[in-house]
């Protein structure tokens, strides 16, 4: 199988280049990550990729596969169009080869205060939720923070330092809709404090399109806007969609 992989080592290379690799698939090569790791182990051990759980939960191995962001570990390698073009997540600074610097992404994530804010004295056990209250978190708590959505969002490309981005806004919604949180008003106010944090979103919906977990950040952003208008929405959680096969 033919692969064309983005290579860049800032210590040696003046600029990035694409390197071709050819490898025969073995019966154990199911997912793209299996093959990348075999290329690394057998052909070129300098090839650099970030990965951890290799089963679609940690979000470490998010890369751009044939022009579309996805997780290498849950992408069926046999369905990919050849040559398979692998690049680092678009718009994120490259550290080396397929590894990107996600500092800016995490900075935006931290800016939405991704934790429960509740100054009331804690009860003896945990703060309880009714099943309906818990259901409202569906479709937002599952985010694995892989960065696929934010990296493929044009609004984030143009204003990465000021626009929170789809991943951060999905998490903002997760805490806005949490019945145990007491800072809903502050959170909404914070997102409306300038024309950038939330309102750069043009509902392009690339985020929803590429999310490997089938989540819909654009729907969450719509719900945040409705909450700002005191419209409660439909009450339940956000629907998840089927993840299209990366080809």
């Amino acid at each position: 199988m033919h692969f064309s992989i983005f290579r860049y080592n800032p210590e040696h290379d003046d600029k990035p280049y694409m390197q071709d690799f050819r490898i025969d698939l073995e019966s154990s090569d199911l997912m793209l990550l299996d093959v990348i790791l075999r290329i690394k182990n057998v052909q070129d051990d300098s090839l650099t990729i970030r990965r951890s759980c290799r089963e679609g939960i940690c979000g470490s191995d998010a890369i751009n596969i044939n022009g579309r962001n996805g997780l290498a570990c849950v992408t069926n390698v046999r369905k990919l169009r050849e040559p398979v073009e692998l690049r680092p997540l678009p718009s994120f600074p490259v550290v080396r080869d397929l590894v990107v610097d996600m500092s800016r992404f995490w900075k935006q994530y931290h800016s939405i205060r991704p934790y429960l804010v509740n100054d009331e004295p804690p009860p003896e056990k945990e703060r309880l939720q009714s099943p309906a209250e818990r259901e409202r978190l569906d479709g937002s708590y599952e985010c694995i923070m892989c960065g696929c959505c934010t990296s493929q969002c044009p609004s984030s490309w143009w204003n990465p330092d000021t626009f929170v981005g789809p991943a951060g806004l999905l998490q903002a919604y997760r805490f806005i809709s949490d019945s145990r949180d007491r800072a809903t008003g502050e959170r909404l106010q914070d997102l409306n404090r300038d024309p950038y944090r939330l309102f750069r979103c043009r509902t392009i919906m690339n985020c929803t399109e590429v999310c490997p977990m089938g989540l819909s950040p654009s729907r969450a952003i719509e719900r945040i806007r409705l909450r700002m208008l005191d419209v409660e929405g439909h009450g339940g959680g956000l629907a998840r969609h089927r993840v299209p096969t990366v080809r």
Binding site: S155, N159, N192, R193, P195, F199, R200, R202, M228, L229
Partner: protein, 111 residues
């Protein structure tokens, strides 16, 4: 001072779009159902106080919609502050000029 940013701008963008859509649909429907047969008939239709108010409102909505939309384009793509400081006033000036022209036309019709 009431600023047109964030949620307010987003809301105004949607409200003006809904008004413009309704106006265009009704305006076209009127022309399809009972098209004016002569210039006098057309002039009469456009000179009614209600029609003038609705049309002026349509253009006000159009200009506001254009301001929010084009300003968004500038905020997205133009990051040099000096260039922004030139482009935004130019944009505002252009829209105000268009607005003045429209008001003048209706003033003439109404008068």
């Amino acid at each position: 001072m009431i600023t047109l940013t964030g949620l307010r701008a987003w809301l105004v963008q949607r409200a003006t779009a809904v008004y413009m859509l309704a106006f265009i649909v009704l305006f076209l429907a009127r022309f399809v159902i009972a098209p004016p047969r002569s210039y006098d008939e057309w002039h009469g239709l456009m000179s009614g106080a209600g029609m003038i108010a609705a049309t002026v409102l349509f253009f006000a909505a159009l200009l506001t919609h254009a301001w929010v939309g084009l300003r968004d384009v500038v905020l997205d793509y133009v990051h040099v502050v000096a260039l922004r400081a030139v482009l935004l006033p130019l944009l505002a000036l252009g829209l105000v000029a268009l607005g003045t022209w429209i008001v003048r036309i209706f003033w003439t019709i109404g008068g």
